[in-house]
């Protein structure tokens, strides 16, 4: 499993949000993106997910160019910013609708995933009634559902209570696999030290330093 | 699971019942509508309406200009712009007051062709049949009824048929409870002398 970023630049409204990024992510590792607000961590994740197009450069996933050979990574789960789902459906229904687009996820797996993040799959409450913490958990569930080969998480423990943090932490570590790339961004230094195997420091849209934890 | 299944069956059953009721209701309403008794009368045969028998004895289709060349006394009704946009159909009818002599002549005799209807210009009609106005008209005499057939009311195909005299017209006398349709099938082309 490999993600290669080659000479990636992204300009939005004359701002260089990403500048000349060259990096390779490989499986079996949790990568932690660190940096100040606005340094480009979220943009980089969006780029890897195929949600935005680079102004120049290319993203290769297992030697396939994103946006050319494939329009989105074959197997990916994301949690970017505040996760949004359909307000008039329950958590289970929301995941079921998304799972309908993926061939490898059945109802039992959805239930197991919801349980693993600390949500009740029988909960009849609609998404609009969920608390911030519940929404975050559902977002995580959507990201890990189907055990994708690429998992991108931006601030995964945001709004999660202490017990939940422990659950999420173990969940992420439990997903580490040689065929899986996990990239997380988190402001909590302690969590980052625990979760990440490699830390990537970003500043002003550039990768400044790579640190092995 | 069983509850949902039974619920679906009940809903389906109610939908079918509702559909059947609606279909029957619609059929009933249509069947019991006030349909007039329609008398279709061939050209040359008579139709009695308000105590007067009407028989179409002749029908002549005129080009607009030819009509006004023929009926010079009607010159005041001529409009330049209509020359290529209008044909004139003049229907000759025999009127006979029936036995008890109390019949009423009704000049409201619209003509229908395709889905178009035209009435009679009352002033032109009066000028073509002065006896009806001055009281000199007798039972058994003939009247001439002019109809303007406009190109703007017909499609291109229909207008070609009208010009080629392939159109069937009908004069309608009354509509309810009895509707008399006097068919005009034999039309000759008018030529100004």
């Amino acid at each position: 499993m490999k993600i290669e970023l080659k000479n990636i630049s992204k300009v939005i409204k004359k701002n260089n949000v990403l500048e000349d990024i060259n990096y390779t992510f490989t499986g079996g590792c949790v990568y932690g993106l660190i940096g100040k607000n606005g340094c480009g961590k979220t943009m980089l994740m969006r780029l890897i997910a195929g949600l935005i197009y680079p102004t120049s450069g290319s993203v290769c996933i297992n030697d396939k160019i994103l946006g050319k050979d494939i329009s989105f990574p074959d197997s990916i789960g994301i949690l970017i910013e505040n996760p949004e789902f359909l307000n008039d459906y329950t958590g289970f229904e929301n995941l079921k609708l998304l799972a309908g687009l993926q061939k490898n996820v059945d109802e039992q797996e959805i239930k197991d995933t919801l349980t693993s993040v600390g949500l009740d799959y029988n909960d009849k409450r609609k998404f609009y009634k969920y608390s911030l913490g519940m929404r975050q958990r559902l977002g995580i569930a959507a990201a890990i559902m189907g055990k994708p080969e690429i998992i991108l998480m931006d601030e995964p423990i945001n709004a999660i209570d202490e017990d939940g943090v422990a659950i999420i932490r173990d969940l992420i570590r439990g997903l580490v696999d040689k065929n899986r790339i996990i990239i997380i961004a988190c402001h909590d230094k302690e969590e980052m030290d625990y979760l990440a195997d490699k830390k990537i420091l970003m500043s002003s849209g550039k990768i400044v330093k790579e640190m092995i934890v | 699971m069983k509850k949902t299944y039974y619920k679906k069956i009940i809903i389906l059953f109610l939908e079918i019942i509702a559909t059947i009721i609606i279909v029957f209701r619609i059929s009933y309403v249509t069947k019991n509508a006030h349909h007039p008794q329609v008398n279709i009368v061939s050209q040359g045969d008579g139709a009695v309406y308000k105590g007067v028998e009407y028989i179409i004895t002749d029908a002549v289709m005129w080009e607009y200009n030819d009509f006004y060349d023929e009926y010079k006394e009607l010159d005041e009704y001529y409009i330049d712009d209509y020359a290529d946009e209008c044909m004139m159909l003049v229907v000759e009818m025999e009127l006979t007051v029936k036995d008890d002599g109390s019949g009423t002549f009704d000049y409201y005799m619209p003509i229908q062709y395709y889905y178009q209807d035209n009435g009679v210009d009352p002033f032109m009609f009066a000028d073509m049949n002065p006896a009806l106005i001055d009281g000199g008209f007798c039972s058994g005499e003939h009247i001439f009824v002019p109809y303007e057939i406009y190109k703007v009311n017909a499609t291109e195909k229909q207008w070609n048929e009208i010009e080629d005299m392939k159109t069937t017209y009908k004069i309608v006398l009354g509509n309810y409870p009895e509707r008399n349709e006097l068919l005009i099938t034999d039309i000759r082309r008018g030529v100004a002398e």
Partner: protein
């Protein structure tokens, strides 16, 4: 493609706004039926009773009375009350309410991201457009069909007699044969046409999704276009009326009658332009939560 299409149509036909839109249409339909029954149908039968008591000698006895047919009472063709004009004026709003704002909401809230990592972008946009089209078309068709069924429950399924001078459609107008002889088929034909145009109007909102900062502006755009076409373009040049969508959709053909060729041209051109603009507007668009 099947999965995303199934998902989008499933969502489109279950929104609250879908049922609200149909509800508004049904209310207009019921009000119109009530008006017509009390002001036209009942009055017509009173006239019949009056005429049946007259004799040939009475100067008011014209022997001319016409049964009110189903098309005269149908919302699409009934032109005496305001309801026909109201329905077709707000038709774009009714069409766009169900799902027209969905792309805007999903894109700007970030839900689209969840879809786009599971599905090809082109398929997503195609499925979205189809779902908006279908939901918009259904929202317009259901009140028309409902009104027809209710009208048929008290008005006979007969065509309009041309002699009655109550026909809103003229001999040379589009589908005159159906109007005068096969009323149910006329209703069916126009319902299908209004389904298509309703869907297209809803899709207009999709085209402008990324050009407005406000979902309200996106939703109201098709209504504004309709008003512009109806009151604006027609005033400037009434020769364009036969290609004017806002006139074509009305089964009463009040704009001087429709022509089948002009209608088909308008349909295909509208579909082509809408699809072209829609995909051009969304080609290579970044999924960034802007608000």
């Amino acid at each position: 493609m099947r999965q995303i299409l199934k998902l989008e149509i499933y969502k489109a036909l279950r929104t609250k706004t879908f049922f609200i839109s149909i509800g508004i249409g049904i209310i207009i339909s019921v009000l119109q039926t009530n008006w017509f029954y009390n002001n036209f149908f009942v009055e017509n039968y009173r006239l019949l009773e009056e005429y049946m008591n007259l004799t040939n000698d009475d100067p008011h006895y014209f022997n001319v009375w016409f049964e009110t047919g189903v098309l005269q009472g149908w919302l699409g063709c009934e032109y005496a009350s305001v309801y026909n004009e109201l329905f077709f004026l707000i038709m774009p709003l009714l069409a766009v309410l169900p799902y027209g704002g969905a792309l805007y909401m999903e894109w700007n809230k970030g839900y689209s991201a969840q879809i786009l990592i599971r599905c090809d972008r082109k398929k997503y946009f195609t499925a979205k457009m189809i779902a908006v089209f279908v939901s918009g078309g259904i929202a317009i068709s259901i009140p028309l069909i409902f009104n027809f069924i209710v009208s048929a429950c008290y008005l006979p399924m007969i065509g309009v007699d041309p002699l009655s001078m109550q026909a809103i459609v003229a001999n040379r107008d589009m589908w005159a044969v159906l109007y005068f002889d096969y009323p149910a088929l006329y209703v069916l034909a126009y319902t299908i046409l209004d389904f298509v145009f309703g869907g297209l109007m809803a899709c207009m909102a999709l085209v402008v999704t990324h050009f407005f900062d406000n979902v309200f502006a996106v939703m109201i755009f098709p209504l504004l276009v309709n008003c512009l076409l109806y009151y604006g373009l027609d005033t400037v040049d009434s020769a364009t009326r036969k290609y004017n969508m806002s006139f074509i959709v009305n089964p009463s053909q009040g704009g001087g009658g429709n022509e089948i060729l002009a209608v088909m041209t308008t349909v295909f051109m509208s579909i082509f332009i809408t699809i072209l603009l829609y995909f051009m507007a969304n080609r290579k668009r970044d999924v960034i939560k802007e608000r």
